[in-house]
């Protein structure tokens, strides 16, 4: 890795000042002239047939401009993956979860729109409910969709290596299962959007999204508008974490209202509606059998899983594949079999949430490794180190480890956490646990089958000289992508960070698939690097012609253009520049040619200098079904060690002294990478110990608010020591790869392992909330076997799954 002026520094984020002063504009801060306000009528029941929908009284309310239903929105189906388009903008004849969109009202203000909702006459004939995996999978279960017989929305059966042969090689085998709950991203900014159609039928949607590109395509497809007449723009976005990465019914409904009303319409979600929409983490039941040799070498993984995906598919087809494929690394695994189904139920749909399908699978796998190490009398970290893959190796499921700093991550946390001393400490309420994690650095393929570039971008040099504008379709959602792109452009052009402006999140600027699967640094980073170099080369070519010096001898750095050896006689260039700027008081001075002069000269000679860049991954992965999911040009990995202090009387688990390492290949911005490591841990802790979406017996979410869906507060979290590992990824720009999602992977198992170290209890059900922990401790203290409420349920569901095997 070279010496960089700007890259690898702690440069201040380009948008931090706007956010810290209240200047940053988010969707609900925006107004458009003549704007109306929308409100959405949602289903109050989890499953039913719409018998009556009469909007006439609502339409008649003064102040209401239009009411829209499926009759206006049409019946074109959409979703996330074309293989599973199962949604319509509004429910047509059937509703499948509490919160499903049925109609929408646009009115002069929000109060009128809400009042109008109350005038809509709606009758729903309830249908039998399917509220859990077991019910969904039973023979006589009510079906939610004709096209998903048995309520199975996806099924995966894969085998890599020869499992039965491998089984014969194993000295010991271990089995366990783990049940998690549906979870929510709980970003601070609720979704919202403003739709506006101009006089030439060009539709613009401003929306709080992670992917303007996917939203644009979905709107065009569903509403039958030519793609070239749909523009999607994101303002500042207050967090996404996955559920904002695809088009929503809210966005589509708002477009329909704007088109019908002939005026801009704003529609935002209340916090409760955020929960009802969900598209958060699936519920997972994982059942694994791991085989090892006596010396701790991993031999095989036999993996079964059932996913509860709620009422619609969303990202589910990818989720189910990730849940299996991501276990192919970071340890050498000669054979892996995976059989899983994703069922639909009458609950809010689940999609992609930070770490996607890999999080709970990793939690079970890593806690089993912990148990195996104990059984073999090995230190859990040493056992992991023994199995870690090397750079260049390929997993049994054809994922290539072009870089893998797993060893370095593990050693770093082991050595910087006091692991060895603390491991041996006994004390029934304190423990320490470790875990690893692994994740893609950008999905290898777009969500829709296409040869499209994943990222394109332009870097335009200001005609006046001296600065650059990056126009990118990528989405800054808080992770810092705008800053990363600005830093790359500034580095390559040899100018200050403050001389680069990044304009992003607008489909008019370029194609970028969006902020999901942790892809933007690697993919858009590559594209911006290419574009900046292209622009720089165009300037160098002009200088070369004018000064009669070979173009490749010019060095752009620090705002100047120089030669490695020798002086440039740029007097004529400066004279011309000064002559052009008579009256200005900031003429370039000094004995070095400035970038300002050079880029101005390039404009004079050539016109506007625009560098273009693009990126798409090479064909990746194996040839088997579903091979695409899990492929990536690079993989990030992480290791975490957490200590826990358990109040054994109440069951409250408190983490302390967290040491978290992450291999991001190369840290473009060190502060930002640390921020992701820390944020990942806290979100993972919340999911491990606090968070679950709770439903009542009618399928309604009972904790659709931030008081009862509990994300960690400042007082619940410890200090987190972040460690950056840089393995120099050959497929990443400057060696960089992901950090945004991978860092959550080790967290749940590190905590589970620490709790085991403290209590001797392996939990089979998440979250580890105080009641569950207290209950398990009580059982253990009384000498009884520790069982969990859902143990029998899980066994029954796994049996149902096994019954499907052919």
């Amino acid at each position: 890795m070279g010496d960089y002026r700007i890259l690898n520094s702690r440069a201040v984020r380009v948008d931090a000042a706007d956010k810290a002063t209240g200047r940053a504009v988010y969707i609900d801060d925006m107004k458009r002239p003549g704007m109306l306000y929308g409100a959405i009528l949602q289903s109050p029941v989890s499953h039913g047939l719409i018998k009556k929908l009469d909007t006439s009284k609502a339409e008649a309310l003064p102040g209401v401009v239009c009411v829209v239903t499926a009759a206006d929105a049409g019946s074109t189906r959409f979703g996330v993956s074309p293989a599973r388009y199962d949604e319509t903008v509004f429910a047509i004849d059937r509703v499948r979860y509490v919160g499903e969109e049925i109609a929408a009202v646009a009115a002069v203000d929000q109060e009128t729109a809400i009042k109008a909702l109350s005038l809509i006459e709606l009758e729903i004939e309830p249908l039998s409910l399917v509220l859990d995996m077991e019910t969904a999978m039973k023979q006589d279960a009510p079906g939610l969709f004709d096209e998903y017989p048995g309520n199975i929305t996806a099924e995966v059966s894969q085998e890599f290596g020869k499992l039965d042969e491998a089984r014969a090689q194993a000295d010991r085998t271990y089995s366990d299962f783990l049940l998690s709950k549906m979870q929510d991203p709980a970003f601070m900014e609720p979704q919202g959007c403003i739709a506006e159609m101009d006089s030439h039928s060009n539709l613009t949607l401003y929306t709080s999204t992670q992917s303007t590109h996917y939203v644009q395509r979905t709107i065009a497809m569903v509403l039958g508008i030519p793609l070239g007449k749909v523009r999607v723009v994101k303002p500042y976005v207050g967090g996404g974490f996955g559920p904002k990465a695809a088009a929503s019914n809210l966005e589509l409904a708002t477009c329909v209202m704007a088109i019908k009303a002939g005026r801009p319409v704003k529609c935002t979600f209340s916090r409760e509606q955020v929960f009802l929409r969900s598209r958060g983490r699936h519920q997972f039941l994982h059942d694994m059998e791991i085989g090892v040799k006596n010396d701790g070498t991993l031999v095989f993984l036999d993996h079964r899983a059932v996913l509860d995906g709620g009422a619609y598919s969303s990202f589910g087809i990818a989720t189910i594949y990730y849940a299996g494929s991501l276990l192919g690394a970071p340890y050498r695994l000669p054979a892996m079999r995976y059989h899983a189904v994703r069922v639909c139920t009458n609950k809010p749909a689940c999609g992609a949430q930070r770490g996607h399908g890999g999080v709970i699978a990793r939690a079970l796998f890593e806690s089993m490794l912990d148990g195996i190490a104990e059984d073999l009398g090995m230190d859990p970290i040493e056992m992991r180190l023994k199995n870690v893959m090397s750079t260049g190796e390929e997993t049994c499921n054809a994922l290539n480890m072009s870089s893998l700093g797993m060893r370095e991550c593990l050693e770093a946390v082991r050595d910087q956490s006091g692991w060895k001393e603390k491991r041996n400490r006994t004390g029934k309420n304190r423990g320490i646990g470790a875990s690893c994690g692994f994740f893609v650095s950008g999905a290898g393929y777009p969500i829709y089958r296409s040869k499209t570039w994943h990222s394109t971008v332009t870097v335009q040099l200001a005609e006046v000289g001296g600065s650059a504008i990056v126009r990118s379709g990528s989405a800054e959602i808080g992770q810092g992508s705008d800053t990363v792109l600005a830093m790359i452009a500034a580095e390559e052009l040899g100018i200050e960070l403050t001389d680069v402006r990044v304009l992003s999140g607008d489909t008019d600027f370029s194609v970028d698939l969006g902020a999901y699967s942790s892809r933007q640094t690697l993919m858009m980073g590559h594209a911006v690097k290419m574009a900046a170099i292209d622009a720089r080369n165009q300037v160098a070519d002009v200088l070369s012609e004018v000064l009669d010096i070979p173009a490749d001898r010019f060095v752009f750095s620090g705002g100047f253009v120089e030669l490695e050896k020798g002086e440039i006689d740029f007097s004529k260039i400066r004279e011309e520049f000064v002559r052009e700027h008579k009256g200005f008081t900031d003429h370039p001075e000094g004995d070095r040619l400035t970038f300002r002069e050079a880029s101005r000269l390039a404009f004079i000679k050539k016109g506007t200098i625009v560098g273009t860049g693009k990126y798409k991954p090479p064909p990746l992965g194996g040839k088997f079904k579903g091979a695409a999911v899990g492929t990536s040009p690079a993989y990030g990995c992480s290791a975490q060690i957490a200590e826990v202090d358990i109040d054994t009387d109440t069951g409250l688990v408190t983490t302390e002294n967290v040491t978290a390492s992450h291999d991001c290949g190369f840290a473009i911005n060190r502060t930002q990478v640390e921020g992701q490591i820390q944020g990942n841990f806290v979100m993972g802790f919340g999911e491990a110990c606090f968070e679950e979406v709770k439903f009542d017996e009618t399928g309604r979410t009972v904790n659709s608010n931030l008081a009862e869906y509990k994300i960690p507060t400042t007082m619940d979290m410890p200090e987190i020591k972040p460690i950056i590992v840089e393995s120099n990824e050959p497929n990443g720009p400057y060696g960089a790869k992901e950090v945004g999602e991978g860092g959550i992977m080790p967290t749940i198992p590190a905590i589970m392992n620490a709790v085991y170290n403290a209590t001797g209890i392996r939990f089979r059900e998440l979250p580890l909330n105080p009641e569950r922990v207290r209950g398990a401790i009580r059982l253990k203290e009384s000498g009884r076997d520790v069982t969990f409420e859902k143990d029998e349920y899980c066994r029954r569901v796994i049996k149902l799954l096994s019954g499907r095997k052919s």
């Binding site: 009528l41 949602q42 109050p44 029941v45 989890s46 509490v98 919160g99 929000q110 109060e111 809400i114 009042k115 909702l117 109350s118 005038l119 809509i120 006459e121 709606l122 009758e123 729903i124 309830p126 409910l129 209340s270 916090r271 409760e272 009802l276 009387d649 109440t650 409250l652 110990c689 606090f690 709770k694 009542d696 017996e697 009618t698 399928g699 309604r700 979410t701 009972v702 904790n703 659709s704 608010n705 931030l706 008081a707 009862e708 509990k710 960690p712 507060t713 400042t714 007082m715 619940d716 909330n769 105080p770 009641e771 207290r774 209950g775 009580r778």
Partner: protein, 317 residues
């Protein structure tokens, strides 16, 4: 979320004017103190509250309920101008607290005697620092939730609620004040005008609660304990216990308190008292936690509160 229903806003300058307004509107007027409960209840309802019949065969969507919040008063009477309702007065053998005194102020009042420890603990643990800067002790009491930290503490302290209406004034023991979830003996024409607690030497109290998170939590279970020691013998002269969120109202555990009388508050006595409190509690299962777990917590929290209260009583002279 918006307040969609119109209402009249009154801001009387004197207590008398406020009482006249309450009397005039026959239940249609509600007093507004900090607003941390009232304003939330006035915003339009959640999906969950709207459709209690959902899923049953005769479920009929009553859309009109979309705009019916939990509370839609005709008149809101702001108490903001009534300075006589705010403040803490400490006398030789009593402490008086105005009902519109904020929880933040109470939590920060470190010159309060150890006897009021429970109230300070409760005030400092509810909501968040932001909520506590507005939430009032009177509001907490009159909102009458079974988990209301302030109410639970006040009852353990033997607090007296002072009330006034156009017809005069009255006093009532805090333990009799709350009658059911959300209901108190305060009539729609009355206002709480003060809360008073008797204090004496060798008294200490503490409030301990449990929740999943350390902040922004409604207590899953709370326990307030008040102790008066007999200085010479070190035995318990008097004791009161109140439990939160284990019954329809904040629940005095008189039987448990009695087990301490005339005994030295050692580990054994404390354990026995806590056990007795568990027997008196009547928790239910709900989505926050099971009755069984809540019962266990009663034991743990009463023990911890007792230990703290005793420590404080010993330190107070």
């Amino acid at each position: 979320m918006r307040i969609v229903n119109d209402f009249k806003y009154e801001r009387p300058g004197t207590l008398k004017d406020a009482l006249v307004i309450l009397e005039k509107h026959q239940g249609g007027a509600v007093p507004l103190a900090g607003g941390t409960d009232l304003v939330v209840n006035m915003k339009h309802r959640s999906m969950l509250q709207l459709f209690p019949n959902a899923g049953t065969p005769d479920a009929k969507f009553e859309a009109a309920k979309f705009v019916q919040p939990a509370l839609a008063p005709e008149v809101v009477v702001s108490l903001a101008s009534l300075s006589e309702l705010e403040g803490i007065k400490t006398g030789a053998d009593f402490v008086w607290i105005g009902p519109t005194t904020t929880m933040a102020r109470i939590a920060a009042a470190d010159d309060l005697p150890a006897a009021l420890g429970a109230l300070r603990d409760a005030a400092g643990s509810m909501g968040s620092p932001l909520v506590r800067n507005r939430a009032t002790i009177g509001g907490n009491l009159v909102n009458a939730r079974p988990a209301a930290d302030g109410a639970v503490a006040l009852i353990a302290l033997g607090g007296i609620v002072e009330l006034a209406s156009v017809d005069g004034t009255r006093k009532e023991a805090a333990c009799d004040f709350i009658t059911a979830p959300g209901c108190t003996t305060c009539s729609t024409a009355e206002l709480i005008t003060g809360l008073s607690v008797s204090v004496g030497p060798d008294q200490g109290s503490a409030y301990v609660r449990h929740g999943t998170r350390r902040q922004l939590e409604i207590a899953l279970v709370g326990a307030a304990v008040w102790i008066q020691l007999e200085k010479a013998s070190g035995t318990v002269k008097d004791a009161r216990i109140c439990l939160g969120a284990v019954g329809p109202r904040p629940m005095p555990a008189d039987g448990a308190a009695k087990t301490l009388l005339s005994k030295k508050p050692d580990k054994e006595a404390i354990a026995r008292c806590a056990e007795a409190a568990v027997k008196e509690a009547t928790p239910i299962d709900d989505f926050r936690g099971s009755a069984g777990y809540r019962s266990e917590l009663v034991d743990v929290l009463v023990r911890r509160a007792l230990e703290k209260a005793v420590e404080r009583a010993k330190g107070a002279s």
